[in-house]
Symmetry: C3
Subunit: 161 residues, 3 copies
């Protein structure tokens, strides 16, 4: 593949990561990371030495249907280091509602990721971001909420792709 194709494959990896995260598909998300993957979320507040530990954190923090999350990554600056290693900067925007806590959180951050190619597939070897802000405000009592997970809804967008 050309360098442009390799970089596109890394972007696609990250897009699936975010999709699986917000669709609460943690097993699918885990497949995108090597087992030894390291994690450093929120300016180092949440660090994990491997994939299992990070996925356990994500499930504990966000799996319940009262948590509604948006995580989107923008402005990919991907650098190939070798035929099988790469690094990437992304600009995060996240918005998370915790309906049970009646809060809305919004934040930003810059990811500095590392990727490794395992056979034909790029995988995440390290992911983490530093925030410049995270602001949490109360969710008004009269907020109207549509919750796609409220009735056991499962998302499979792209499942057939």
């Amino acid at each position: 593949m050309s360098d442009a194709d390799e970089i596109e494959a890394i972007r696609q990896l990250k897009y699936r990561y975010f999709r699986f995260l917000d669709q609460k598909r943690y097993d699918d998300l885990a497949e995108l990371c090597i087992p030894e993957c390291t994690f450093s979320y929120h300016s180092g507040t949440y660090t994990y030495p491997n994939r299992d530990a990070a996925v356990a954190f994500l499930k504990e923090r966000m799996h319940r249907p009262e948590c509604l999350s948006l995580h989107q990554g923008h402005h990919p600056e991907i650098t190939l280091r070798s035929a099988t290693t790469a690094a990437g900067i992304w600009y995060l925007q996240d918005v998370v509602f915790f309906l049970d806590e009646r809060t809305r959180l919004e934040g930003n951050g810059w990811y500095e990721d590392r990727y490794v190619k395992v056979g034909p597939d790029w995988k995440i070897a390290h992911t983490g971001y530093d925030r410049s802000f995270e602001i949490t405000t109360p969710l008004p009592d009269d907020a109207m909420v549509f919750n796609g997970f409220a009735e056991g809804g499962a998302f499979r967008a792209g499942a057939g792709f």
Copy 2:
């Protein structure tokens, strides 16, 4: 064109769709869809069997200047099916102010689109998204509003391109 060029052309199609939507340029938006295009917005709440029906809905819902909307599509996962057909997943973020209703809506969703190439141009053949959330809250009384449409302003960003 190479596959990468075809995929880029489909991304450009979607970018213009969102630009025309939020600039209230419905006739320009309609040109991006085939007449038989089908639509399924908001987890199937709003479905339309063809372009004319969908555009009528969009105009009724959003044309007035008291509606200020942001619709942005991220994380494109485009798959070419044949020389003239393709599918795409996108991650939507939308924020819509209805000044006359004094509300602010924010939501997300995953598009699953189909595209078809008609002569040299890719067109939208189906578009629709499932949401995981949509939250509507009151707009505070003391909100300060700049409204680019308030004085009959029309947007032509990119008109010369």
Copy 3:
């Protein structure tokens, strides 16, 4: 370089611009613009005839740590005009907290930029955007704030790239 490579280089230029803006790295941001670069922010409300004037404005408006900003550009529609000139449309989303004024601002806008290639590097020759909306609301008294700049924190994401 191929046309696709030139366009990618222009996207990377814009990504760095936004990263340096929100990381308050104004000297790095200035390097991305030619000295004669012109600026027209917020539908022409803030116009500047050259780089120095615009950077002075940005510093005055946003440098203090009580200003926490997110500026993200989406949907790039880049057109090469010649071997050394190009134009670009982008769809802006911005969210800015002024903690000292206890406000939150959110807006959108369409950039219409011009770029020029100086030696091997693309630079910004003109940048400006028209908004369809900007809404400013009070920040609730009980908002919880994480401020990455509060303790003299400096961001260098990608500094080693």
